[in-house]
């Protein structure tokens, strides 16, 4: 709760910041400081120190998992802000407002991580979505940005409609929005529940961009300003995933027979479409969009398996995926050329950045000794605990092999090709430090996952 309230307050502060602070540096500093505070507050809450005594009435509950996850995401956001804040300036004039929106989104993130009522879930997702629509369209003169915003908005609203339909049906069956209650479900109610579950499945699949509800993802990620793509592809997606898993665990955990196969199909289709389509992309940004679909496919295993391994894996996956993707996007945001060729020869001209990128790409591709490997490993392990899942696991590993193809195209460009005509941007020292730290984090998590997973049960 600490983080939720503070992020709301920070959002408001930043909102006023746009009028009070004219210096961009001070805005940035304020945001970074606020982020630090947020992270600290959340860590303190993990330690049992709560700043606010709020009667939550069973609407929210911050358990260890939510707190750990939240801390992780906040850390990612902190790093994200440090890396990407200068790039936000390029997007438009409302510099402080972007931060305000980011903080509001964090508010929603806190909600979806800890919801105990469908109402909170709904509100949380909306609080996340609405600022994202805006951020997507924040580069107002850019037609691609406009298009992306409109598409995102229309499709997002549509999925909100679906979600509400689902909530309504579930409400019809259960008589309550709370996930804590465990009302008896009569056979007659079961149909309502399953129909509701289906709609929730669709809408959540949409939010995490699982095929066939993924269509918005490439267009929006591609069209949105790169800094914000980075944010929505990582923090938001990871948070929504937790919500997804929580929802199905708490609400439909007893009916896994009804949905597990569908999740499996969803997973397979997502893996397939994400990985296969990414192969042919020419723009790294769009490739990353598809890769995020592919990664979502892997994260869906947590839902599919719905066991302890799955949740631990989700945590690790989120860490691996967020750090790597934020890092790559941060570099990408500064590149002039978003195609693969734009990275040509970077291993020679910018060896440090290239090395960090290599680590990130390794992680995304699931090469051992990076967090990405262990994350995938956890997911597969979790899935294998479900009987009859062998085909899915096999399919997933084959798709992971396909993913190597497009991730390593970047590596190839960086290391094995000669630099092209477009020069690579200069990266300031702090940027290198942070990027290096993230790369180190990815490796450390890959070598000693206990550091993170151990937090879950102490």
């Amino acid at each position: 709760m600490n983080a939720l309230i503070i992020s709301a307050v920070l959002g408001v502060i930043m909102m006023f910041g746009s009028t009070l602070l004219k210096q961009k540096n001070s805005i940035r500093a304020l945001a970074t400081g606020g982020m630090l505070l947020l992270l600290l507050a959340n860590l303190l809450e993990m330690g049992g120190i709560r700043f606010f005594q709020v009667e939550l009435k069973g609407m929210l509950f911050f358990d260890q998992f939510a707190l750990v996850f939240h801390s992780l995401l906040l850390l990612a956001v902190l790093l994200y802000i440090i890396l990407a804040a200068p790039d936000m300036e390029k997007v438009g004039v409302n510099y402080a407002d972007y931060f305000a929106l980011l903080f509001f989104i964090l508010c929603g993130v806190a909600m979806v991580l800890a919801f105990k009522s469908l109402l909170i879930l709904f509100l949380g997702i909306e609080i996340i979505s609405i600022p994202l629509y805006i951020l997507t369209g924040s580069d107002k003169k850019n037609l691609k940005g406009n298009e992306a915003a409109l598409k995102y908005f229309l499709l997002g609203s549509f999925s909100t409609g679906l979600m509400l339909m689902g909530i309504a049906l579930v409400y019809g069956a259960r008589g309550t929005f709370s996930t804590l209650a465990n009302p008896a479900i009569t056979p007659m109610n079961l149909n309502l529940l399953i129909a509701g579950m289906a709609f929730l499945l669709f809408s959540m699949a949409f939010k995490v961009s699982a095929a066939p509800f993924h269509f918005w993802t490439p267009d929006v990620y591609d069209g949105a300003p790169t800094v914000f793509t980075s944010f929505m592809a990582t923090i938001v997606k990871a948070a929504v995933f937790v919500a997804f898993v929580r929802l199905f665990d708490e609400l439909f955990g007893d009916f896994d027979g009804k949905w597990r196969l569908w999740v499996a199909v969803l997973t397979a289709v997502t893996l397939f479409i994400g990985n296969i389509t990414a192969v042919f992309q020419q723009s790294v940004k769009r490739m990353l969009a598809y890769s995020s679909i592919a990664q979502a496919g892997f994260m869906l295993f947590a839902l599919y398996a719905m066991n302890g391994d799955g949740k631990e894996g989700l945590l690790l996956y989120a860490a691996a995926y967020c750090f790597a993707t934020i890092g790559i996007f941060a570099v990408l945001a500064r590149m002039k050329d978003y195609t693969f060729d734009g990275f040509n020869g970077m291993g020679k001209t910018r060896p440090f950045i290239a090395a960090a990128l290599a680590v990130f790409l390794f992680s995304l591709a699931g090469i051992p000794l990076t967090a990405g490997f262990l994350a995938k490993f956890y997911m597969l392990k979790a899935a294998l605990a479900v009987p009859g899942s062998a085909w899915l696991v096999l399919f997933a590993v084959l798709m992971a092999a396909v993913s190597v193809y497009y991730y390593f195209r970047v590596l190839q460009a960086m290391y094995f090709r000669e630099p092209g005509e477009t020069s690579h941007p200069e990266f300031p020292a702090y940027f290198k430090w942070v990027l290096g730290a993230m790369a180190a984090l990815v490796i450390v998590l890959g070598v000693l996952p206990e550091l993170l997973l151990g937090r879950l049960y102490f």
């Binding site: 509100l123 229309l154 409609g161």
Partner: protein, 112 residues
């Protein structure tokens, strides 16, 4: 009134909304269709809310507020819808300012 009737009407309206989304190209109309979908959900929620109240009363809980949460949810939906409309229309207006059209097919630079 059997709840099934409300369900039928709600899903009919919902489906009409979906059909609208599918058949129109005007972004504003599409958005309106989505609003229609939301309203269909609202109607359903209210009907369920009254159903649960009915069930509670039949079960002997006369004084309780069973079912009121459904109506409150509708209230929140309206709140969210209002917020969404403000943002959505802003986006549509922004697009209109750039390309002088609200045709969703007009913009398709992002594909494949």
């Amino acid at each position: 009134m059997p709840v099934i009737n409300y369900i039928y009407i709600a899903i009919a309206l919902f489906s009409i909304g979906v059909v609208g989304v599918l058949t129109r190209r005007n972004a504003i109309i599409i958005f309106m269709c989505i609003e229609l979908m939301l309203n269909a959900v609202n109607l359903m929620l209210v009907a369920f809310s009254k159903m649960h109240q009915n069930a509670a009363i039949l079960a002997g809980d006369l004084a309780g507020n069973a079912g009121s949460d459904g109506q409150l949810f509708v209230f929140f939906i309206m709140v969210v819808a209002a917020a969404e409309v403000s943002v959505g229309l802003a986006i549509i207006v922004m697009m209109y300012r750039n390309i002088h059209s609200v045709d969703i097919n007009f913009l398709n630079r992002l594909k494949h």
